[in-house]
């Protein structure tokens, strides 16, 4: 794994008693679609939050493009090129769909308080490019027509696409998708896989946490399996499907559900 864009070394996060992420070493290869799977409570989302800087690790460290992220807060990591979506969507309901995507351009635009306050030409120019780019990303996910709609007036599937557009607008190197497929119908899921592939083709590394195995196996080029905070396996989709520990973990999980 020479060209790895993201690495974690003995990464751990404990909340009071329980250890949500336990000494996880993993390495995400650039320009690939990597999927993190695992039963509920395996620590997948916690892992994302650690990478995105929402939580600070209680042990170990995270390196992005070879440099350790240290205690950099979320907004700094976004600027560095780590974008993410949320399980529970989290769109800005006080803005239109377009404006939602435009916020994504925040770390890529420079003009500040005074240019804004006085409407200086610089502000004007940047605003133009911002909204132009925002529209491109909106079209990319196929929501161009809904630019002026309130995001919450869109069906869940499109809301999820919108969050992806917003994340893309930050022009990331690494895109973290937290259960993008949840609550989508078959058709939408196909669209989603298409989109994810296209994003990869744009040279953006994609890491997704996903429960839907068909989706994962369909697009993931590398699969990492977590169980109760620990990495129990990784490999290509086919390798993983044969992996005993994985099956065990999942069966256990299945039983628990039934």
């Amino acid at each position: 794994m020479s060209s790895s864009i993201l690495e974690t070394k003995v990464l751990s996060k404990a909340f009071g008693g329980l250890t949500a992420v336990d000494k996880v070493d993993l390495s995400v290869e650039a320009n690939k679609i990597t999927s993190v799977i695992g039963p509920n409570g395996a620590g997948k989302t916690t892992l994302f939050n650690l990478i995105a800087g929402v939580y600070m690790p209680s042990g170990g460290e995270i390196c992005f493009q070879g440099k350790p992220l240290g205690k950099a807060p979320p907004h700094k990591r976004a600027a560095l090129g780590i974008a993410r979506t949320f399980q529970n969507v989290l769109l800005f309901d006080n803005m239109t769909a377009l404006e939602n995507v435009m916020t994504g351009q925040h770390p890529r635009s420079r003009y500040g308080f005074f240019e804004a306050a006085l409407r200086l030409p610089k502000a004007h120019r940047e605003e133009e490019t911002i909204s132009l780019k925002a529209r491109q990303y909106l079209n990319l996910v196929g929501l161009g027509v809904y630019a002026d709609r309130n995001p919450l007036s869109l069906p869940l599937g499109q809301q999820k696409l919108l969050t992806i557009a917003r994340a893309l607008a930050t022009e990331p190197r690494l895109l973290l998708l937290d259960e993008p497929g949840a609550g989508l119908n078959v058709l939408e899921k196909q669209g989603l896989s298409e989109l994810i592939r296209r994003i990869r083709e744009m040279g953006i590394t994609v890491v997704l946490v996903e429960h839907d195995m068909d989706l994962v196996m369909g697009i993931a080029e590398w699969v990492i399996v977590l169980d109760s905070g620990q990495k129990i396996a990784e490999g290509t989709a086919s390798q993983i499907q044969k992996n005993k520990r994985v099956i065990a973990a999942y069966l256990g999980d299945e039983e628990a559900i039934e």
Partner: protein, 334 residues
């Protein structure tokens, strides 16, 4: 693009009409109420500052009157005790207040919601107590008098009409700046913080810093308004900057529908008119109701918030928009 352009085009027209209206008000329409119109201008500035913080960024402040007060007192003290030129005094007051807000901003904005509300409330009252207690500077409860007028070269703002235009030109600038900020990436960032702090961070917004920035802006607005207020009334006393004053500003913001720049003006106008004029007139014509003005004020506060949480102005605007849309649907589709 077209849509946004359209919105802006509308607002330019509205702006022009608004300015014309502002000029006509004291000269043609309501000359005898100039002093109230001036107050509306001042409170608009304070309210807009608060709207940026509360309506757009979603951060409560129950201590805005403190900044209004520091602006007023610093300006008054500097120009009376130390014979500074009012303009300079106002500038220094604004800077000092801004720095003050910046210093307390970082610790205080680690708090949210009710806790933030109470912290700002406490802060407001502490400052108010200082106004009363630092008698050697502030003149104590009796206040500070003999505050000079502004003047440029030979031209002194020595009557209400002159001060009206002075104060409203400040107010209009404040409004425009606020509006530009709101329509900029900063504005979107503010809204984003209001919408979801987690998501805001994820798109690279430094929420802590931005909250403080906007807090400072609001404080500076309030401070400028305070200075203008002091040099307008020529006498200030602590009671004008107590907790109820902060509440009044919040009411104005709320009545205008927190997240709306023009709503702030509307709110300031409505509440100022009701509390400074309507209720009094009411009492004059219906002496029985004269004592009830305070009660009515409380009642109005509750009713607006209960039934129009979005505020009078926004509710009216929404009503108007939906009406227009209904008409548009009926009309031919282009």
């Amino acid at each position: 693009m077209l849509a946004t352009f359209k919105r802006h085009w509308w607002s330019y027209l509205a702006m022009a009409a608004f300015l014309l209206f502002l000029i006509l008000l004291p000269t043609q329409l309501l000359g005898e109420k100039t002093s109230i119109l001036i107050l509306i201008g001042l409170y608009s500035m304070v309210t807009v500052g608060l709207c940026l913080l509360m309506g757009y960024t979603g951060q409560v402040s129950l201590g805005q009157a403190a900044f209004f007060g520091t602006g007023a007192y610093l300006s008054a003290i500097l120009s009376t005790r130390y014979d500074l030129d009012p303009w300079l005094a106002m500038l220094m007051a604004a800077v000092a207040t801004g720095v003050f807000a910046y210093i307390i901003g970082y610790p205080i904005f680690r708090l949210r919601g009710n806790y933030l509300a109470m912290a700002t409330l406490g802060l407001g009252i502490i400052v108010w107590i200082l106004f009363k207690e630092l008698s050697q500077y502030t003149g104590g409860p009796d206040g500070l008098g003999g505050i000079p007028n502004f003047s440029i070269g030979g031209f002194a703002f020595d009557n209400k009409l002159k001060r009206y235009f002075l104060i409203w030109s400040f107010a209009v600038c404040a409004l425009l700046i606020a509006q530009n900020v709101v329509r900029s990436r900063t504005g979107r960032a503010l809204k984003a913080i209001h919408g979801s702090e987690a998501a805001a961070m994820s798109v690279g917004i430094n929420i802590a810093q931005l909250k403080v920035k906007i807090f400072v802006l609001g404080a500076v607005y309030a401070s400028l308004a305070g200075s203008l207020y002091a040099h307008h009334l020529h006498h200030i006393s602590p009671n004008s900057f107590d907790f109820m004053a902060s509440v009044m500003v919040i009411t104005m913001a709320a009545a205008g529908g927190l997240a709306s720049i023009w709503g702030a003006v509307f709110g300031a106008a409505t509440i100022t008119y009701i509390s400074q004029d309507a209720l009094v007139e009411l009492g004059k014509s219906q002496p029985k109701l004269a004592e009830l003005d305070v009660v009515l004020y409380g009642l109005i506060l509750m009713l607006v918030m209960i039934f129009l949480p979005k505020g009078l102005f926004v509710s009216l605007r929404d009503a108007f928009d939906s009406w227009r849309q209904r008409r548009a649907r009926k009309g031919p589709v282009t």
